[in-house]
Amino acid sequence: MGLLSILIFLPLVATLLILAIPSSAKATYKYIALCFTLLQFGISLYLYGNFDAKLGGIEQMDAYQYVEQLAWIRMDLGTVGKLEIDYFIGIDGISLPLIVLSTLVMLMSVGASWNIDKSPKGYFALLMILNMAVMGVFSALDFFLFYVFYEVMLLPLYFLIGIWGGARREYAAIKFFIYTLLGSVLMLLVIVGLYFSVINPATGAHTFNMLHMMNPANYVDGSFFAHITNYHEVFGIPARLIGFIVLFFAFAIKVPIVPLHTWLPDAHVEAPTPVSIILAGVLLKVGGYGIIRVCYSIFPDIAANTNWWLALIGVISIVYGALNALAQKDLKRMIAYSSVSHMGFVLLGIASLTAEGLAGAMFQMVSHGFLSAALFFLVGVLYDRVHDRYIYNFRGLASLMPKYTAYVAIAFFASLGLPGFSAFIGEAFVIIGAFNAESMSTGIPRWMAVGGSIGILLSAAYFLWTLQRMFFGQTRLQGGQAWQEALTDLNTREQVVLFPTVALALLLGIMPSLVFGNLNASVIQLIDLIKPYL
């Protein structure tokens, strides 16, 4: 049992522990959850500290670190051949930052769950299962294993939103579930197709191993997804293109891109604060991660030909999300739409197919991960106190809650891409990448980079406008005196949760090499993989 496995399955132990302890001792649940997530965070920092930044990963098996490979399922299906499924995990520069981010966000979300009193047993058990699935998704290198973790993520989320959510929770929960499942069942068909197209060179059996799928030499000639001599068509579209589109569709729902984003505002608004934090902080990143790890690495040829469209979708998401955020009157909804806009940068960066753009996209994912978590936490603080988050119901909060206002202001400025904060680095690199793409002839025109910059402008508009509307001016509250008394400033627990994120935003803004250092080799490796097809 390696360190990575321990990282993945620690939450499962926590779940069992929580289920075993009787409900009379329900005060202990949150401490158990906290202990285990702290432990996970420690492990992920250790992984980070001992990570060899020179190794690339992507399709080279030797370059993965903390690798564990065990034969898991071996089934003889007769004429269909042997089913070869491994418990195969490992991390490279793409997954490492996201794993560290996930453990941090999980820690924040446990901190945000401190006051949950509606059946805490079920709540923390589900939260821990979700935690396990997320870690599994980011470290799985076998497609079957990846899919299992990917789907296991859905169930706890459905219940977390559905039971502990707001007024329209049933609708939001099922909508989220349906959207994601729709993407993933079609993905399953592509996985099966890939399985039949790829041979493990060592054993000669078909395999679910993702790394084997990334090597064109392992494809069977004439098979459904074969690289060369592939005459398969589905409704007149080449098979490999279809495979890419279906996989992209599945992950794009997660990202989410416009027009597949409509589940996100609903899910975010109805979800309880800790779940919003996880949704924005980690689950959207699963989409971006999937596009890099699966779509781009397994279908580099298609990725090179379709990146114009992907970049276009990215730009549309940036601008459309920002315009929507501008129009929102619910603070949480506004932040949800700002997520759509910021994740558009990730897509634009990935599609630029330049080292700067890809690194920027990864950086943007990390930065958006903890910043959006902080933003949702801040909304939660307000909502906890007065159960309202309608922007126009608040005015002049600055004099009432000075500390809170300071945190909000920093988080807003960091998110809108003020130089010196992490989001600036991410967005700037994406724009640079998109701008350079034309000279690198990857097929991305310059106006798309300009479109991205308009998004930054718009994000400044909606964040600053909101700041002005809610926090400055004469104090005037919808709830009158009762609200004035309820709106106390941040307490110690809330500050303990918030401070690290703000500090991190500043730290990464000044020293981006903390993230870039580890992912550089992998990004270059990925570019090398795609370059021959450009």
């Binding site: 089934m75 003889d76 299906l77 007769g78 499942l181 729709l182 068909l189 039949f196």
Partner: protein
């Protein structure tokens, strides 16, 4: 036909060892009739015990028979791994059904029900170990008649009698049509063994119009047992009207026998490139697609959980047909799907029954707020529902994946668009099925109720079985090897 009588006798005696599990069932059937007549009044449960002993012995002989393959009774009786494993599944699930009946319906003198159950089991055994049309028809009729009685056996009100009546009428018509089809086939081929060369030759030479008619007629009979579209209309009413224990029986065991028969038939008929095999292929693709769609779409509108399960099992029949379609030399995944299906269905019907005992209702609305009162039961029920949808890490997912895998390999070699459509429909219907299966946790956990429901705490044998089945659902989902290694040992 100049075979001497001693020769025939010799062959019959030689075939007896292959027939041991069924002989035990026959003896048990007769014993049960007697115990129900004479002992049931004095010793309650005596028939139940007799039935259990019979099943246990039958199981013993089946396991004993495991390595054997062979044919007996002049080729009428066929023992191969497929039949042995199918019969194992049948016997094991009959055991559970018998316990189910005993737990639920022991108040009155209901001894006869066990003998009928044994008769049905015998019929299923016949179905799963023959390639002869005559035997198959006898098997189908045995199962059908036993099922008619079972559905009507406990009927106390109009709805239940109506269900039984509908079932009988529909069943008899289908059987008659099938018999007519069989007579046509016999006339065309002169042979009743559908695996024999003579039979296939006869089908090849036959005129297209007649062969189409005959084949469709035969499929009517099988379709009734499997309840695929358009012969599914009886099943929602019957499932809803019958007592839950009987519904559990109807939704699982008869399908096992029928699907094994259909798989054998399909395999022998499609191995040629002639008209009738093409017809069968198109038939099965079309029916599978329509069945998956109609089963899952109709289930969306149901408010009664038993009726919903009826449509869900129609949907699963579509997937089973897909498994049959992809049935090649190795049928381990077909068996895997069957085992998964049986385990999931038995567990869910036990849960439905337990909830019905507590609330007196099978309406989904009555589940509101029950999740807090019975957390363990509804958690397990939700896991089974997840498995029925086909989401990992459950056995339902692995089963679905294997069916998709084998069908895809078919598609890759043939490039047939119909197969691809079938695959896509199979994938999409699992999204549709999410809607209705998740009504269970939706009502139980997400909704609250105003009406206080008194929940008695009780631990019953049935619940223990259901929890064990739920654990199996997860365990086989994570380690399908354990089941698969067992299923495929004698297949390689």
């Amino acid at each position: 036909m100049n075979v001497s009588i001693p020769h025939i006798l010799d062959q019959i005696i030689a075939s007896v060892p292959l027939f041991k599990p069924e002989l035990v069932l026959i003896i048990g059937f007769i014993v049960c009739i007697f115990t129900a007549l004479f002992f049931e009044k004095r010793w309650k449960n005596s028939t139940f015990i007799a039935c259990m002993v019979t099943l246990a012995f039958s199981l013993y002989y089946l396991i004993d028979q495991m390595p054997n393959t062979g044919t007996g009774f002049s080729g009428m009786w066929l023992v191969d791994p497929l039949s042995t494993y199918a019969r194992l599944v049948i016997i094991c699930s009959t055991l559970i059904i018998a316990i189910f009946l005993q737990q639920r319906h022991s108040k009155k003198n209901n001894g006869d029900v066990y003998s009928i159950l044994l008769a049905a089991t015998l019929g299923m055994h016949v179905l799963s170990s023959t390639s002869n049309w005559l035997m198959a028809f006898i098997g189908i009729e045995m199962v059908s008649i036993a099922s008619y009685i079972l559905v009507g056996y406990f009927s106390q009100n109009k709805v239940q009698s109506e269900a039984a009546m509908k079932y009988v009428l529909f069943g008899s018509v289908c059987a008659a049509v099938m018999l007519y089809g069989l007579s046509l086939v016999y006339g065309l081929t002169g042979n009743l063994d559908f695996q024999s060369a003579m039979h296939l030759q006869g089908l090849m030479d036959a005129p297209k119009a007649i062969i189409t008619l005959a084949l469709l007629f035969i499929f009517v009979g099988i379709g009734f047992k499997l309840s695929f579209v358009p012969f599914h209309v009886w099943s929602p009413d019957v499932y809803q009207g019958a007592p839950t224990a009987i519904t559990a029986f109807l939704s699982t065991i008869p399908k096992v026998g029928a699907i094994v028969l259909f798989a054998r038939l399909y395999q022998s008929w499609t191995s040629t490139a002639f008209y009738f095999s093409e017809l069968s292929t198109w038939f099965i693709i079309g029916v599978a697609i329509v069945t998956m769609l109609i089963g899952n779409l109709a289930a969306l509108r149901q408010q009664d959980v038993k009726r919903m399960m009826a449509y869900s099992s129609i949907g699963h029949t579509g997937l089973l047909l897909m498994a049959v379609f992809a049935y090649q030399d190795a049928f381990s995944y077909l068996l895997f799907y069957i085992v998964a299906y049986v385990v999931m269905n038995l567990a869910s019907f036990i849960f439905i029954d337990q909830i019905e005992q507590q609330t007196g209702s099978t309406s989904l609305l009555s589940y509101a707020g029950l999740g807090k009162k019975m957390p363990l039961l509804f958690t397990a029920f939700t896991l089974v529902a997840v498995s029925l949808i086909g989401i990992p890490p459950t056995v339902g997912f692995v089963a679905k994946l294997m069916v998709f895998t084998s069908t895809f390999s078919f598609f890759q070699s043939s490039g047939d668009t119909g197969v691809l459509v079938m695959l896509i429909v199979g994938a999409l219907t699992s999204v549709i099925s999410l809607f209705f299966y998740f009504k269970i946790p939706l009502y139980a956990f997400l909704r609250d109720t105003d009406q206080p429901v008194a929940v008695k705490k009780q631990i019953s044998v049935l619940l223990c079985i259901a929890y064990t089945l739920t654990i199996l659902v997860i365990l086989f989902g994570i380690f399908p090897n354990w089941l698969m290694a067992y299923l495929s040992t004698s297949f390689s």
